[in-house]
């Protein structure tokens, strides 16, 4: 990723307009992640790289940068995610796409 034509994912997300809610629209049942899931597909599939394991090995999601594609929800076969669209005025607002 040293090439100058590529950008860090955070910088890419920084180009987008987000209107932030106080409430998360993705909630993880971390107990399901811990006890049932070994594949952790969410870590791979999210195009915004929002999923992370914290220091204690607990799954977290930085939902603020969510592009609302739903890929994590579809790929989570353990059904650990409660995934909704952000409320009315919130979430990503594409200006071009």
């Amino acid at each position: 990723m040293s090439d100058e034509s590529t950008m860090k994912i955070d910088a890419k997300l920084g180009l987008d307009v987000f209107k932030l809610d106080k409430e998360p629209h993705i909630v993880i049942d971390t107990e399901v992640c811990r006890t049932l899931c070994v594949d952790r597909a969410c870590l791979y599939v999210c195009p915004a790289s929002l999923y992370e394991l914290d220091d204690t090995g607990r799954m977290t999601v930085n939902w603020e940068g969510c592009l609302e594609c739903g890929t994590c929800m579809i790929c989570c076969d353990k059904r650990a995610l409660t995934w909704k669209y952000p409320r009315g005025p919130y979430g990503v607002q594409y200006r071009m796409s």
């Binding site: 034509s5 987008d16 599939v45 594609c69 739903g70 890929t71 790929c75 594409y94 200006r95």
Partner: protein, 435 residues
Amino acid sequence: MEKVECIVVGGGLAGLSAAYGLADAGVEVMVLERGDYSGAKNVTGGRLYASPIRSFYPELWEEAPFERAVARELVTMLGDGAQTTIEVASDRFTADPPQSYTVLRARFDQWLAEKVGEKGGMVVPNMKVDALLREEGRIIGIRAGEDEIGADVVIVAEGVLRLLSSEAGLAAEPVDRDHALGFKEVIELPPGVIEDRWHLNPGEGAAQLFLGNVTDGMLGGGFLYTNKESISLGVVVGMKAMRERAEKAKPQDASESYQLLDRFKALPQIRPLVAGGTVAEYSAHAIPEGGIAAVPKLAGDGYLMAGDAAGLALNALITVRGMDFAIASGYYAAEAVKAAKARADFSAAGLAGYEASLRGSFVLKDLQTASQIPAFMENPRLFTHYPRAVSRLLEQIYTVGPGPTPGLFKTAWGGIRRDFMNTGTVKDAWSARRI
């Protein structure tokens, strides 16, 4: 409970197309859009095939804010260090009228929403629908926050994830097998640079698809569409293939899907195409790719399903379509609602004309024609072996080494026998007869 004749859930192309037809016929219609404006949550690759939909609302397409009329079609097969591009240009692609255009959704959908407004339809932004209201098996309206609004009929154009319709039991939840993830950068470049790089006349555009060294062998590929003052460069990758990859990944493998685009963009074949450009936006969206087998029930008592929510999209490898299907399904949904209103019958029987129209039109006919494509595309050789083999064969034909060079036929035949005449490829050719 407040009540209108028709509620449209989702102000994308399917919903707006339906609302335009209804408002034009004097039906009271309210479009509920969760974004700040129509298009705020939408992503296309993207190209809209206009030929299939031109006869619907012909007055609209003359003034539509298209980006460029696609004059050049390119498919690039990326091998290991070698690539092959097939470029097709035809006067007929851009003959008056052109068959397809590149588009950007924020501009395009906002324009269509304005047109709906001019016809007297109401488009309400920032209005996220939380549930479809169901009573005795019939959809009777929607709930948005604290508000409930009733309707004679609800057109469900909520998009690919169909959170509301699956919750209400109208359609199955989306599954990985039937969907792909698409993500892209919009990269700004001056119009003159775009026209030079893709050999275009002013106003004309190019559509370029990439197979091979893009998706790490997973189902999918790269795409590039030229807009007026930008290009859309992105990757599509099958969700089932991604999940299987995650299953097989070793713990130390920290790669993530988003890096596919970075690696694609950094390829020596792609770098000159994006050089000097400024990334202006990064976006991602799920894409329905399950074909006709994944299309849910299209109508029932008090509701119709349209656009991506109804799985109406078609990746036929070379042609990738969805927006024309969305606009067509919206058009036919409006026709069906008008007919139902005339008979004052919004039951499944009263709305049955919708599915009949879609079956009689290109929408379900083309999906039926392509019914074997989703299974065909699960073959990983399409994304690994063939792009490499084609490029290797042509590279050898064009190679002059230090020693004697074998004859053209011998080189070609040797390459064909090596890469295209074994049990796997013969099997692939046999299954390709049905696509």
